[in-house]
Symmetry: C2
Subunit: 146 residues, 2 copies
């Protein structure tokens, strides 16, 4: 497997609204998506674009994630880090099933079956125990690039 | 201020050698720099390139950092997370002093004076208390892009 593009860095937050204000007013982000609920993942999501290195490219996004529902998988993270913080990184792959087989063959634990992620394409997570402590999402690259 | 490019994601590791093997053999990275010591920062550093969205662009790098010396600022991080993990994110700015003045005016605590970072340009860190829990490095963009 060839390392794919770093699609986004997942940042957990207790309040997407507050984080949007921070990225807009302090960090100077000029392209911030509309927040939306992703009930299947137990999170509310908002993508913040960072600039690409060239005009026609795409930068790695910041994916703001806020707990959604009592069973949200990031509720524990926010309880431990009430201000929020870095939660995961996400790399693109061309084929989610080939990627799953690859990581399993390498002995890295895949957390569950591929499911639809925030960009509308199949994703899975790798257990941080097998990735140097970094919770890692693998996503099938969407046709339109984001 | 306009949000700059996400230059890299800093990943702390107890062993850069082991992390290089992981990024090469499991994640499939094809462009990994030579590790080097950065004694002034108390870290050993190695950059892993991730692919850009277009052929001529540059992707966000993974900056592997290993504690260097007993006073390393990331020694505590590794003691708390022995396997390593996400440590910081780093955005580029055109002018480090203008950026420092901007963040100070916004009430975000700047940690120390600008100093030379791993890419050879001036950098500073923002306290995570002012950035939604994300330790954030600000670096002056080098002329050659990385």
């Amino acid at each position: 497997m060839i390392l794919g593009r770093l699609n986004h860095v997942g940042v957990a937050t207790p309040s997407i609204d507050d984080s949007i204000a921070f990225y807009r007013d302090v960090m100077g982000a000029t392209a911030i998506g509309e927040p939306f609920d992703l009930p299947a993942q137990g999170v509310r999501v908002c993508f913040v674009d960072t600039p690409p290195s060239t005009g026609s490219g795409r930068g790695t996004q910041i994916e703001l994630i806020e707990p959604l529902g009592d069973a949200s998988p990031i509720r524990g993270f926010i309880e431990k880090s009430p201000a929020g913080g870095q939660h995961h990184v996400c790399y693109e792959v061309p084929d989610i099933h080939a990627a799953k087989a690859w990581f399993e063959a390498k002995g890295v634990r895949v957390l569950g079956e591929p499911r639809i992620g925030a960009h509308g394409t199949p994703i899975f997570f790798l257990h941080p125990r097998g990735t140097g402590g970094v919770l890692t999402e693998i996503m099938e690259a969407p046709g339109d690039g984001h």
